[in-house]
Symmetry: C2
Subunit: 219 residues, 2 copies
DNA sequence: ACTTCCACGATAACGGCGTTATAATCACGT
DNA sequence: ACGTGATTATAACGCCGTTATCGTGGAAGT
């Protein structure tokens, strides 16, 4: 090994990114089972010990990869020019999210199946703070102000629920439930998005009387 | 070891169930990381080799546990007396599903995060055949026939989408996104269910004109 | 009833993992 | 020029899933 750092600071940060990139590539291409510390070190040409001094352990390394994945997702969601129509914007974000997941299936499942407390981001702060979540909240708020969604429900909550819907559908799609029926999966997703935005247009204010389903049923 | 089987057949099947039960308990209580072949064999009082002759490997063992989990879920979903109101029945099933997931969080995440091709059930056949899925399809069909849901959308598809919604919300809840706000999580879930059933009541037939959001907005 | 045989299960071994302890090496201050 | 201290490469440890080996006990043949 002949990398003999010169400035004493810049080379390690390059090494960090190199490690994270290698680990991310393995995780995305071959899954979590094939991501080993020894292999990452070998592919980077360094000893295993380096990984432990830099990341503390495997947990720290995959945590960095997860962070990188979140950044990539946020970049993907914000690169499209936002449509002026808030509802169209919501659909656009949903499709962008699904496209991202389909492009990085293994990475997506590895990141979003991991328990939240495994990440270093505080759980409570993530919802509003995440740059990958902010565009959706913004679109929902604009839609609510325009009367296209229920104003009585907090925008953050509606955005969370929409995210849960999209995440659920994408998770099932990635785990192979709609395997081989790509066109159908696309149409179903579109249908789901529209149904949910429709459903939030005039949602009941308070969930009193959970079992009372035959309230006023307009027709 | 002195178990000296007598009938040559009944004892092994009891051993199988014993192994699956032990593995399921470990998986539910301590997660997938703590489930090892050696430990299962030790807790059962047998050698490790037994597990390999019975299940072929770890994959086979956890596959059996997954099957057991599916059966348990199906039993949970069918044990409540079905309400006559189809929409109320759908909500009931949703709540039962969520309750099951909250009662077995680690098990649920382990089973439903696993890729579908890892299971032994054929992907295409699972949707209609699964006994844990049939009650929902039935309720949706009844609701559609009663005019409470859109009849133009196949009932199986609507049930799939509802399942995706519930699965997505439950997944996020289990991974800690609503940590410490249990009452809120419950209310949000109720809201989500109602919004989705509302959204399916008069869904657009075809997704022509994606950006046309200001159709008829009754108020 | 005694011997033969063979399938089956307990034991031990193998390669690989995450992690850690140890030893060698290299830049650098004096 | 030379110790010195950090830093890295090497080896070791305990565990894992899996597999090969080998002793043994019950079934079959005479």
């Amino acid at each position: 090994m002949r990398t003999a750092r010169r400035a004493g600071e810049t080379v390690p940060v390059a090494l960090r990114e190199r490690f994270v990139e290698i680990a991310g590539r393995i995780l995305a291409n071959e899954g979590e089972g094939n991501l080993t510390m020894r292999r990452v070190a070998a592919e980077a040409g360094c000893s295993t010990m380096m990984l432990y001094t830099l990341f503390g352990g495997k947990e720290g390394l995959v945590s960095q990869v997860h962070g990188e994945c979140f950044r990539l997702l946020a970049h993907t969601l914000t690169e499209d020019k936002p449509k002026v129509d808030p509802l169209a914007r919501i659909l656009q974000l949903g499709h962008a999210y699904r496209t991202f997941a389909l492009q990085h299936p293994t990475l997506y499942l590895a990141v979003f199946s991991r328990s939240a407390e495994a990440s270093d981001v505080p759980v409570g702060a993530r919802r509003q703070a995440s740059p990958s979540f902010a565009p959706l909240v913004d679109a929902v708020r604009r839609a609510a102000e325009a009367g296209l969604l229920d104003e009585a429900i907090p925008s953050v909550m509606q955005a969370e629920l929409l995210w849960a819907v999209v995440h659920g559908y994408v998770s099932l799609e990635l785990t192979g439930y709609f395997a081989g029926e790509e066109a159908l999966a696309q149409r179903q997703f579109e249908l789901l998005l529209r149904a949910c935005t429709d459903g939030f247009r005039a949602a009941p204010k308070s969930p009193r009387g959970v079992a009372a389903t035959s309230k006023r049923r307009r027709r």
